[in-house]
Symmetry: D2
Subunit: 266 residues, 4 copies
């Protein structure tokens, strides 16, 4: 089980969220609290948007807590929308392409969860990725495969076009996954962004969903797998089977996500 | 284009072939001669057989020339059959699972070559891997996919059984690849072993095959992508479209490999 | 605070001690019990003796728990005397030369402890290393500096000669360190070997000494910073201010080490 | 022998100098031209100034040519003054602390050169570093030791104060090194900056100095160990025993550096 943080708001140095808080993401890499894996030492990653049309990525296989490059970068990189992730691997190798976040054109994605029977289902999950996006599969994780399947579902026939409705694309993809997963377990707590808008999902099949919280101010919204400080009242949980939608220039909304599907399954 | 060496013979320390000769594999990692890529600095690997029923592997993403662990291991590891490989990547990421050799049960495989249109053909090449072996695909290279396809072709219906005829399995797999590759180029200079027997292939489609040499004595046979010293008369080239078969207790044979197929294609 | 294991006895595969036991060293790398640092994820190392006159070393900056090379090597490397170490860094960088064990000619050394005021004392500790050995200082840890100081004290005038009395050399070095450390704290729980004999020290200044246990049979002795299984009655603690001496062909002895010095200090 | 580039001018993305030009620094990492070591694959580093009072650092032990993080960072990092360096090690280990540039408070330093008899002189060179700066020695290279000696010489008695005259401090340090080096060889082609001003030195003792070029426009000055493109007339060589001084708001000057000293020695 991994830990992550997503930020959208006024441009700020990443250090204020990734390395400095009392229970910062880097602290969580060596001692997470609300997680079955208290150590998240199997690599980490940053993804951020800046002046360049495509997001930046910094991914490394060392633990986040001992990476001096990460401290320098978090001081110097400033962004209005960024992701950071520390990994506890669930079977796939510790390589940079298997570290989150993943990037595809202007989209970033990161994930905390798993597909229960991945070894058996992998081939059928990878088959959800359209041919045009298969060269973008540079790693071997379930997370990357789900991301590229979402991208494929969202881009529809015109593969060059963007993804207009990422919530619908994710919903379509998870419905397809539900057919594959059957009675197995799956957990999906994920963030998706395009440089302007931020989406965060909390969902599970045949299992409890991993935790997800957010904290909002006039200047920014921060979404996290566990709070960055001990003042838990600052942090609002996102309910299971819901998606947080934080579009630029619009109020944040918490919407049901595959809620009916779960009831039907019960 | 990569460089590699395969050894079968009396048990010896790996250093006599990998790190010590004047034009050792480690020297070739920084300055190969008979190669379009003179630098093979995109990772390396050792595979060897010992007392344990399965072979050992040591793979690393650093260049071989600066890895102090490699020097210690080559002094201390002794084997009667081992592979060593330095990599010049052709597009897939620099990760340990993408470094050669690859292991599957008691088999080792390493490769110098490429599939010309890999980004387009990848999915169809991966489809040659049987379901039972797909979990063994931990990297993303064309080389690993070809190896697992050969393993699948060789094991036939009874997947648990060994591979009885690896030359036939390789022949079957390359014929299938020929159908996929069509007019594109493919180079396949590879070594395969099971702990007792060593096979080395030199083959190409629509292209010249990469170089392959061997040197034989009463004690051992060494097969290399380029000679380990400047006395080229010590080294015999393996002709294109041939396979070297060095079975334990039998004389080494150089046999035609897909020779008819090539003629038919011309 | 680090965790380590030292073995001397019948030649065996390293896996039986490093990777296989229920509370193996690799398990301790992610969840140590008798340690202030429960995670030892700042690199690791193996040192072992074999046919080559000098010991082998394998050191890596990744956590031990995710290193697939380590699992292969522990299956295949066999030795009559070996060290394994997982590191929790106390301030010096995570680099291979800062990982334990350290090697110097035929000697191996590893350490669990620290010099309290290292930043201030470093220069004076390094001054204990004789000129002839200073080129062997390839890292920046206090542990390596203490080791090379011990080597220097043991080799005396004839620098080429071996170290005849390593316990006396260690005693001399720690007495010198005591002068430098003054009222600061220092912990020194360390192992030293020359390919035949094994020495393990448990000592501290102005502080409690780190734990040290051993388990002996007719075939072997194993010395550890914490037991490899939950049957604690199998394991005998080495008392503080004592040294374990396990010479080839002699019974193991537990001897007072700087015991008087401590009393004098109280 | 290493390769490097230093930039001062209008704020720009690093990619325009580090990764994009036809003979960019990354290209030089795998195929340098004016260098005895054509491969500079022993790690690399970036140092840059931005909004934070201290410079940023990104150093990695992999070759620059295969580091995908480097490509992302060079797209996204923008700076008015930055350094980039690819390393060909001359004996010290391949670790991040041994990669250039080095940082100390607001200063950055990088180096292409060596001290001929480093193993023998190391201790005396390290003795030039004042106690207050010795904790900043986190690696083991001659380059880092020279940098910290320069910092010490420049800060004089008031160690907290800045370095007012870095050319004088470098001159003092090289004069001290000359005494130590005696008849041995030393090469020193280095860059030094404080976030506003850039200094680049070309000097050698008992040897030819390594190459150094610059290209100046109204917007910027670029100083390099070898030209970034084939139009050599764009690039002006800095003569041996000279220093380039590019202060903010002043015209660039090329001044004699230890010129008298060399004549005296001849």
């Amino acid at each position: 089980m991994c830990r992550w943080i997503a930020y959208r708001g006024e441009t700020t140095a990443l250090e204020h969220y990734v390395t400095s808080p009392s229970h910062s993401l880097v602290t969580q890499s060596i001692a997470a609290l609300e997680s079955t894996a208290s150590v998240n030492g199997d690599g980490f990653g940053l993804g951020w948007y800046g002046a360049h049309p495509e997001p930046g990525l910094y991914r490394e296989i060392r633990p986040a807590w001992s990476d001096e490059n990460l401290r320098y970068l978090c001081r110097h990189l400033q962004s209005h929308l960024f992701f950071a992730h520390v990994r506890a691997a669930t079977g796939t190798p510790i390589t940079r392409p298997n570290c989150h976040p993943f990037a595809c054109s202007k989209w970033l994605f990161m994930h905390n969860g798993f597909i229960g029977n991945w070894a058996k289902l992998r081939r059928r999950v990878e088959a959800l990725i359209p041919d045009a996006l298969y060269p973008a599969r540079v790693g071997t994780t379930d997370s990357e495969a789900i991301f590229l399947a979402i991208m494929g579902a969202g881009m529809g026939a015109g593969m060059g076009a963007g993804m207009d409705d990422p919530v619908a694309a994710t919903q379509t993809t998870l419905a397809r996954l539900a057919d594959l997963v059957g009675p197995d377990r799956m957990r999906f707590t994920a963030a998706l962004a395009n440089g302007r808008d931020l989406y965060a999902f909390r969902y599970a099949m045949n299992d409890r969903a991993n935790t997800l919280y957010y904290r909002e101010s006039e200047q920014s919204i921060v979404v996290v797998s566990e709070p960055l400080d001990k003042d838990h009242h600052n942090w609002t949980p996102v309910p299971e089977s819901h998606v947080l939608v934080a579009k630029a220039g619009e109020p944040t909304r918490i919407l049901p996500f595959l809620y009916v599907h779960r009831e039907a399954a019960e």
